[in-house]
Subunit: 401 residues, 3 copies
Amino acid sequence: MSTVYDVTTWRIPDDPATTAHTDIGKIINSIIADVKAQQTTQSSRPGAVIYIPPGHYSLKTRVTVDISFLQIKGSGHGFTSLNIRYNTSDTSGWWEIWPGASHIKVENTDGNSEAFIVQRTGDPRLSSIEFRDFCLDGVSFTPTQNSYTNGKIGIRFASDNDACKVTGMGFVYLERALVNNGADAFDATDNFIVECGSCIELTGASQAVKVTNNHIGGGFTGYSVFAEGAEGLLVTGNNVFPRGRSVVHLKNSNRCVITANRFQAFYPGMIDTEGTNKENLISSNHFYRVPEGYPPMQGNDNGKDDLYGLIHLVGDNNMISTNLIDYNVPADSVKPSGATPTLILVAGGDANFISNNHCVTNIATNHVVLDASTTNTKILDCGTTSQIRSDTDSYTLRPTP
Amino acid sequence: MSTVYDVTTWRIPDDPATTAHTDIGKIINSIIADVKAQQTTQSSRPGAVIYIPPGHYSLKTRVTVDISFLQIKGSGHGFTSLNIRYNTSDTSGWWEIWPGASHIKVENTDGNSEAFIVQRTGDPRLSSIEFRDFCLDGVSFTPTQNSYTNGKIGIRFASDNDACKVTGMGFVYLERALVNNGADAFDATDNFIVECGSCIELTGASQAVKVTNNHIGGGFTGYSVFAEGAEGLLVTGNNVFPRGRSVVHLKNSNRCVITANRFQAFYPGMIDTEGTNKENLISSNHFYRVPEGYPPMQGNDNGKDDLYGLIHLVGDNNMISTNLIDYNVPADSVKPSGATPTLILVAGGDANFISNNHCVTNIATNHVVLDASTTNTKILDCGTTSQIRSDTDSYTLRPTP
Amino acid sequence: MSTVYDVTTWRIPDDPATTAHTDIGKIINSIIADVKAQQTTQSSRPGAVIYIPPGHYSLKTRVTVDISFLQIKGSGHGFTSLNIRYNTSDTSGWWEIWPGASHIKVENTDGNSEAFIVQRTGDPRLSSIEFRDFCLDGVSFTPTQNSYTNGKIGIRFASDNDACKVTGMGFVYLERALVNNGADAFDATDNFIVECGSCIELTGASQAVKVTNNHIGGGFTGYSVFAEGAEGLLVTGNNVFPRGRSVVHLKNSNRCVITANRFQAFYPGMIDTEGTNKENLISSNHFYRVPEGYPPMQGNDNGKDDLYGLIHLVGDNNMISTNLIDYNVPADSVKPSGATPTLILVAGGDANFISNNHCVTNIATNHVVLDASTTNTKILDCGTTSQIRSDTDSYTLRPTP
């Protein structure tokens, strides 16, 4: 029996009229059912590969992936900017108006939010499922094309999983592109996840996840990268561009590494933290904060003001070092009006270590601000004495000479 | 003649009974023989691609790769944890008990250790051989399933080679997963190499190798990443987790770069060095050292005590900077009992430069210790005076304020 | 209609004699014409995938890619060193003398320089075109095999483009391997681009480009990585080896990030800048400068002397930090003779921040030199007072203790 399937040639035994073009979800579910029918013992379940050739497909039925080792694979991430398209008054002369390559329009008519859900009960955890090289397209936002909302989710891992991978994918115009609940050694690498409300969300506890070499750009309503309860997340080599409400948001996450990324944002709170976050390393990143430049979107923001901190830190023993932090906002756009913007705010916690950051600003800013509640912060080589503000005596400062 | 082969459809001319499922090694050797029979002049040897669809295959005969430009490719790394399986008393209710995807059980009956050996005499060196997206599984360890020993090797490059690549692969339960002797511009990227004794070993002299974006986790008997005589090795973007005896071991290796990795370990000597190692850069990594937490494995260690150094350095002019070093071992587990653990031990060498490391420890430690034999070490911003110990006067210290 | 094409089975309707082996360019143009004939409305243009199996192909006609979402894909980058081959007196006993895998000899007879040009007028920009896993080979240089010149270009993106990708490719013996004019969110990742005059050139304005995880090595006549007018270029995880005239050249480029790379070069100006370059971050890289060691090439250089700076910086607010800079050139090879070589030259600009670099040199050097025109440079922890030279009073220095 072959373990190689093609969505365009598969027919559902009792529903030969459905094709991948009319409902690729139903087709893939049928293929998975066939895999399960062929692989019936616990020592004969190697999985399969399902190929999606270039084409426009509609997904009306959610796919449930409940077998390990399944690879779903296309021939290209197929992104094109729907944001530009929908903000162009006349596209009648355009060459193309849809994303492409192995392109799935997420158009569930089954009452579900997800295009793909990965979920299984029992043991072991689902392992080594791979999504690669195709496009998940939410088609449109509501109530307006600039809202980043439509209730649609691209892929949701809903039960604990190990060694899974999402790579080479495109995600566009989904409210939530990729959600993984309970990830172990998960890889999100080499993807193009932009013009989505939230891009990568690690919910539940995760460990040892890598987010590497991606283009990521969320909406003002959502997260570019979100991690709750993460242990040892590695975020490196990514280009995260606007307009997510943050570029990386950590909630009760420990020992994560955020290094060697290029970050651009339109709002404060580029790195945002909540709860208690310990022993995270944020180094060798480039932060660039500018105002929103795109007229259709200039009315939006993430609700935070410039006192929130470009990096907003709560937690203990974190290290922020060797970053270039670039703030370039006209004085009359600063919020609250007339305030001195904060680049790094230590809003709470003990023994944070902030060193060797080069801050470049068009107006006077506080490079580091320490809340009165904080203790034992060390600040080395992050600015002159006048560029550091502390509301506590419990800190050590070595200003730049 | 086609250059695209499928192991499931190939038949050996004089042995039609053998299939990829009974001996994929013999099948691939026969395919390689066919490639050589088709490609007979020095200007007509483009190689071929051998595809391994998802399935469970047994390898009983070692594959010898002695042609350039061969790509051996499957549809998924197929890892599942055998360590959890073998430490579960009853797996009768499990969905699956084997790794999967393009899954090769390494079961040599030919007296050889390797599943794949890459080797050729004469000129030029073998070039551009690629292994990608399949699973090499050693099946079981002996004498116990927690020993990390079985004498099996996944892939061994045994002669000088250029521009080869191992990517997207899974390796599990092999004593030695991947060995490359004499590598030039080799890539080990995007692999899942865990639950193996040793994971990546660069023996002989190598140059310009990249180890990037991998999940790696060796056994207490072996190495996660080992390099001997390396020049310019780049290790970046990896998640290296326990329980290798070290996360990176350098022996007589120079000008290597270890940066932007997440490292977790159960033993001292996370970065270990022997011989003379010069001008290496270790920066922007997260080190996390905790005790072994998994009961079946708690009796094991790598034989080193907490005075060995979480980073053990011998050599000259190395730079260790901007790392977060996190040591969290209960006082009563420290070895020798009552000792003050060492985070960075400069055990020998001249002019090492250790700066801007943030050390987080649950008990008092020496952040840096200088052996009496060392000379001209510079230590900047790595702790207070009381956290640095030197047994020589030949050093410079700027403590943190 | 299938969207999956194979160059070896495609026949041109009015030219059945041409094959991929005789002119793969003409074949691919015919396939693209077929795609356009099949995909005729702006909502039915998902593109296609064109597969190039392993083989030696000749390209005599330039390919014009003027559709979005096209993936051109082979089965291996196929590099082998032509430089070694052409500098070996007798290769008659060699196993192979050509590159391989999916190997295209660039032999245009159509008067064009490029093997592939990507270009379209009108809206939207071309999106999500992918070149992956094949080899573009310029075959030979003229007038000598060591000249790095032959007028040939591998791939040139000639009009604005979005979200395109070049990955897994091999480029060899092309004067210019990969040129992208007007790139947005472009990826050059996991390629092998060596023995070419110039390797990666980002001309026109680009934004948010990633150059990650590549092996790169240009010729003394050209650039390994060149960016003009770039905004937010991310260069990380690369191994850039000799002998490019520079490893990264920035011209009027801002907010770029060069981090976690291994760089080796034979000439001064490893990082070179011209025009005005602002707020770039250069951190956690290893720089290694040695003399050319290969006898056939020892007569060449890039025309710069050792006072030019291993890093030559013009611009404002750039940060150079946490690099290991290794200079190992015999005293009698220094140019001008008897000069004290410069490692980092700030040749012009304001408020550059140079900190925490470890400089390792076999002879006395100036670690940092400030031109008289420069203002407000900060130099922290880069050497002793005697290792820093300033021709201006407008700077701040904290020497290493």
